[in-house]
Structures are given as C-alpha cells and as structure tokens.
Symmetry: C2
Subunit: 224 residues, 2 copies
C-alpha cells in the first residue's frame, strides 16, 4: 500500500492528501508530529519535513512540490497541473503562492501561535498578539485575492480544477479548522470553498479530528 | 529575446539564471528591486515576487519552481532534473531544501539584516544580532550537510549535475557575495563550490557587482 507520512494540520501534507485523492490513488496515512519526526521520516529526509510519500513502486518522494510533480508524471490520467504551458505556469504560480507567500505571511505565524507554542516543549510560550493581528490582516488580502480570481474564473487557475485549488484549499482549511476564517467577510471565496468541500477528494480532510485540537463548529459542514 | 526579471542578490532569481545558462538558453536580464516591484512584474504576478520569465513564445512564468518545471518541459535537450523518478525526487527534494528550509533558517534572516534593513524605507532598522547569530549557526549545519552529500556523491543529488546544485549554489553564492561563508570551515563543500564556480553557466552570477553592495574579496575568484 502507498503510504503518506503527514500531520493533519500541515498545509503541505494536506496538499499531498488532496492531490492523491483527486488522482483516485489509494494511500494509507501515517501520522507524524512535525516537531518530532520519526526515524522513518528522517531516514528519507534529513530535515524531517512533511509530507513524505512512499509509493507502491518503492519511490520515496519528499516535499510538496516534488510530490506534486512526481504524482503528475507517474499518474498522468487525470490532469491537475494544466494542458499547455500557460495553464501549467498559472497553476504552479498560484500553488507556490500558498506554499511560499501565504505560508510566510499568514499560515506559519498563526500555526506558531496557535499550535507550536502549545505543543513544542522547548519553544518560547509567550503569546505574540501583534504577530497574530498582522497575520490576520494579511489573511484578508489573500482571501480578497482568492475572491478576485474566482469572480473572473471557474477555478483559481482558470476553467479547470487544478493544483492551485488544491494548495489554496489545503492551507486555508487548516486555518478554518482552527476557526480563524471569518467567512461572512468573503462571500465569493466562500462559494469556491463550498465547492471544494463538496468534492469527494476533500472528504478525508474534512473528517480530521484531533483529540487535543478539535475542529471549529462549521469545519466539516458543507453549508457554512 | 527571452527576458528574466530578477534581482542580483535574490537566490530564487539566481536559480533561474543559472538554470537558463546551463540549458544554453539566451536571455536578457531586467533588473528589479524585490521590495519595489515594477508594474511589468506586478502585471504578471500580483505578489511581485521574483523571478519572472517571459519566454520567446510569449509564455510568462513566475517563481522558482514554476520556471524550473517549465524550462525542463519546454527545453528537454539538456536534462537537469533527472532521468528516472528516483533521481527526479532526490533533485527536487534537495532544490526545495534551499527554497524552503535554507531560505527560512539562514538566507532570509541574513538578507533581512544585511540588505533589507539598509534599503527598505519603511522597515525597522534596528539590527538584531541574535537572529544573525542563530542564522549563522544554522548555516553551519546546512554547509555540513552539503559536505556530507558531496563526500558520498559526485554532485548533490547523485552522479549528475542537477537542479539541486543549481538551487544550492544560487542561495549559497548570495551569502558568499556578502562575505558570510567561512570557507575554511567547509573543505569538502568548498571543493564542490569550486567546481560550480568553474562552470560556464555560473559566469554571469560571478560577474555581479552592485554599486551599493560590492562583492566580497574572493567572490569571483575560482581559487578561493
């Protein structure tokens, strides 16, 4: 069986899960704490970053963009990057937007304040409300850009559902799990996320429920 | 003529330059300040991040990983990612190591302290010696891992020169330009970087010389 080493509230891990599910590829999830990676993960990736995919052919693929490109090359039947250079460039640019810029400006500061400071032993536990405020204010800009794109397109990168939607939904859904997204402010983005929530490939992510960090009230509700 | 919008001391921009040169593709460089992107760049990429490639066929490709995959697909004659899934996964994993982890732990804190605080007007200019010390201590771990890999392989990802070497050399060379790398501490990595410096595709990067930020004494010297 194909295995994916992941952490449920890791945006990169979710992107790999969502991608595999949309490709109709079966996989078993192996739970990892990102702040205490197991020897299995470290053997394949010295830096211990998630996700790590071990495919049925034995291929070991580490990291969000490597997994995205590998899965697309090895299983081309369902095209999720794009059909020509322009589509592919647009989809990869928008996927990278979440992996790099959204991650840096919004996701990581909030994860640090809401999760890491709670669970990582050797971390400074003093809350930093200024950095939460800054990240939430940046979040508004990013969500507005999602709305702006969706107002002009069917999916984020154009007519077809793609890796851009996968990466965006994966990172946004972690913040939604934590109750950080005020959907009333983002009507158009909410319509897009409702369509994401109704996809079969997203069901696994919507069923996440960590004992120590329960999901927000409307997290799995398709009518939110 | 193909155009690459870049900033000379941006690791992502350097990775695209080095890649294009290694692929024997001609291009004109268009200088950009990453903290004040031009309308040309913003038209193609709302977040203004570099690099941006405008190819001779009109394709506009934004960002390091999108350019890497695009150039590899559009110009497959010289293979720089890998010949099979295992090689490709290894090369992409190591390229991502520099784009994500080296960037976050080492490169960005040092660029913030050494460049951004000097040139970006609305930035807090108070030096943060603790974050410089931390980044330099992390740098040692990363350079040791470069040495560890090169001690076992010809190039970073295996027998062949690849995008792993391109991304590693691109980020490391920015810090070398700023005089941050103490090469005496890293004999094996130094041997690898000497081979990088001797490559024709790296000559453009070695000739960089910004008026306000001159390169370190040995920056362009192949015998350093």
């Amino acid at each position: 069986m194909r295995q994916l080493y992941h952490y449920p509230l890791c945006g990169f891990s979710r992107a790999a899960r969502f991608l595999l599910s949309e490709k109709h590829l079966d996989y078993a999830l192996v739970y990892e704490n990102p702040w205490a990676p197991s020897d299995d993960v470290l053997d394949q990736n010295l830096f211990g970053t998630l996700p790590v995919l071990v495919d049925i052919n034995g291929a070991s693929v580490c990291g969000s963009s490597a997994i995205r490109e590998y899965v697309n090359e090895a299983y081309p039947e369902i095209e999720l990057i794009g059909r020509d250079y322009a589509q592919k460039a647009e989809a990869r640019k928008l996927a990278d937007w979440f992996d790099f810029i959204f991650y840096k400006e919004v996701y990581f500061p909030l994860i640090r304040e809401k999760i890491l400071k709670r669970f990582v032993n050797d971390m400074n536990r003093t809350p930093d409300p200024a950095s939460v405020r800054l990240a939430c204010s940046k979040l508004t800009h990013h969500m507005d850009y999602v709305s702006w794109l969706i107002d002009r397109r069917n999916w984020l990168a154009g007519r077809d559902f793609s890796i851009a939607d996968i990466h965006a939904a994966s990172f946004i859904s972690v913040l939604d799990y934590l109750g950080i997204i005020t959907w009333d402010k983002y009507d158009i983005a909410r319509g897009w996320y409702a369509r994401i929530k109704s996809r079969i490939g997203f069901r696994g992510i919507l069923s996440d429920n960590l004992p120590q960090i329960p999901p927000s009230a409307e997290y799995s509700n398709p009518d939110f």
